[in-house]
Amino acid sequence: MKILYFAWVRERVGKAEEVVEPPSSVATIGELMSWLAGRGEEYAYAFENARVIRAAIDQTHVRPDTPIAGAREVAFFPPMTGG
């Protein structure tokens, strides 16, 4: 599963993208964030306030309780500030 990070989530994690293989017990976006947060100090920092982090599956906005089954590309980022 390809994971993308943007803005300060990217800066904290220290990379823009990576491929991960979470265990099958990780079923939702929220659980994926918790699992990522346990991968190291930089991840713990990036996801320390997971409630503010937004996510997209295959380029569509999703909520923390959205299942990740079948996702090819998952992105994590702060609230958008475009326009």
Binding site: L4, F6, A7, W8, A56, Q59, T60, H61, A75, F77, P78, P79, M80, T81, G82, G83
Partner: protein, 161 residues
């Protein structure tokens, strides 16, 4: 009739006047053109910024903007629509975003332009990073932008967001 819709994400500047002209030239059915230009502000004093970098999510940004353009076309009788959003490094005074709407009457043109700007501010995957004397910082999202966007959702009021 096909409604001309232009959506572009680019690092280069845009020419708001030329884009508006493209929508109206050779036509006599358009009665109202609304053009919104968002510009990089410089701030003042300790808040002064030297530059701003707009990061975006390629692919999703185009898809989100296209989806909201479709929604605008479904909700208002538009005769033309242009949306251009820049990314990359900008300095104060630089253009950031352009929305041009054309319709027979002004209400549709105004409402569609406001709708699109509200959604670009809150749903399109762009992030602003500002460079100040004290160092760079990411712009925080504004609650009033969420409230502005919420007013377009039926049954949802700005106070509920």
């Amino acid at each position: 009739m096909t409604i001309p819709v232009t959506i572009r994400l680019q690092s280069a500047d845009f020419d708001a006047a030329a884009e508006a002209r493209l929508l109206t030239q050779g036509r006599a059915d358009i009665g109202a053109v609304v053009s919104f230009t968002g510009i990089c502000r410089g701030g003042a004093g300790a808040d002064a910024i030297a530059a701003m970098t707009l990061e975006h999510y390629p692919g999703m940004a185009e898809a989100e903007i296209a989806r909201h353009a479709e929604e605008a076309l479904a909700r208002w009788p538009l005769m033309g629509l242009t949306i251009i959003h820049r990314y990359g490094r900008l300095v104060p005074g630089d253009n950031i975003v352009l929305v041009v709407t054309a319709s027979a009457h002004r209400t549709a043109a105004f409402e569609a332009a406001e709708f699109l700007m509200d959604y670009l501010k809150t749903q399109a995957p762009f992030w602003k990073r500002e460079e100040r004397a004290g160092g760079p910082s990411w712009v925080a999202a504004h609650a009033d932008d969420d409230a502005a966007a919420a007013r377009w959702t039926p049954g949802k009021t700005s106070s509920s967001s």
